[in-house]
Symmetry: C2
Subunit: 202 residues, 2 copies
DNA sequence: CGCTTTCCGAGACTGGAGTTTCGGAACTAC
DNA sequence: GTAGTTCCGAAACTCCAGTCTCGGAAAGCG
């Protein structure tokens, strides 16, 4: 088996990546998701369509990359309480996914994941794993404060907090104001504390 | 202004509705969402394409109607406790949306809602409003049992329970087993009880 | 009866996503 | 140098969702 990491032939021109993303970002802001065409994007970037498809598997992937720069929720801020940390995290998730561009693009990406298991796996390994790790740090902090007597599954906590935000944005298309985010954080924080103090699962 | 509900000319043939839905259901099960074509569906149903588009606004709407027969969560079962009721409801939501057909179709429908505010409004008025009403009945029952000292917003509770199920199915594409549904129900039930007993929101 | 309206199947048509093909250029290995 | 590979822009191409047009049939109204 040859070294599959070997670079042969002409190297990929990295200027094209930026030109394509900038063109896509501009068109998306100007005309909206459904009226962005790959031909127009290629033309504005001064690039062939094949160069785009060599980098991005589909229109949905390209426009997601163009509109959502970074899906990690960073070092989760320490607000001093589990409830406050969850509220801050809900705000971050809402900022990432609730802006006008991401609201158009994210549902298309989810539909694309059905067609492409490779895409689903890639997103799983990047943004889901990253957010889950951030969540584990947050729960560990709550344990050290004494808010959580027993450790909890970070994946479950992640699901419980981000699910409602996600559902409101994309299934209900309800506006989500900060009061609602606070309510969600309050209920989840109280529920996690009670669950951690209560009987073991299973 | 004339009576806009007036029926003039030939009435719509209701046999066609069933033929189209049956053809769509069959093709969906056989070849999967992305390989179902409107031409093939029309041909199998023995029908013109225009007859399909007179009934369903898009491929996503047709296949959603063909795979998700009924989105109400019925008379929510009374299991004797808030936690049990929430677990049962989580199971129902999971059954509706977690079967192989609905898992392919629902994300496409969400992407379609971005393009079509009319579709979004229609779904909002049917399945969201219906589930929210079912949720209100469930919360009222918990109040009468004495589990909830103070009434809670049914929309918030709906979001908190269905959001995690939805997120696991469509964003994470994680398998959701009954243990996870039970965990979700436990945390939400504990959180709602604590929230209802605690300080008023705002 | 005619007149109008809406339905129907069939199929042509448009527009855009995604693929492929072409000639050419850039890089590596020999 | 030469060969082999991968890149590039351009553009032709395939496929399919969604629209439109046709001739005809079925209904209500006069």
């Amino acid at each position: 088996m040859p070294d599959s990491g070997q670079q042969l032939g002409r190297p990929r021109d990295s200027h094209i990546d930026h030109a394509v993303l900038a063109a896509a970002r501009g068109l998306l802001a100007e005309v909206g998701y459904s009226r962005v065409t790959m031909d127009a994007t290629a033309a504005r970037a001064g690039v062939g369509k094949a160069a785009i498809y060599r980098r991005f598997g589909s229109k949905a992937e390209l426009l997601f990359a163009a509109s959502v720069h970074d899906m990690s929720i960073e070092p989760p801020p320490d607000t001093g309480s589990l409830r406050g940390d969850l509220h801050a995290l809900a705000r971050l998730i809402h900022e990432r996914l609730g802006n006008p561009l991401a609201r158009q693009v994210t549902p298309a990406l989810m539909a694309e994941m059905v067609r492409s298991p490779e895409l689903a796996a890639r997103l799983q390994q990047t943004f889901v794993a990253q957010q889950r790790a951030d969540f584990a740090a947050l729960l560990e902090r709550a344990e050290r404060r004494g808010e959580l007597p027993r450790p909890l599954d970070p994946a479950l906590a992640h699901l419980l907090l981000s699910g409602p935000v996600f559902m409101a944005l994309f299934a209900f298309q309800d506006p989500v104001d900060d009061t609602v985010l606070g309510e969600i954080a309050s209920v989840i924080a109280a529920g996690l504390v009670a669950r951690s103090a209560g009987p073991a699962p299973g």
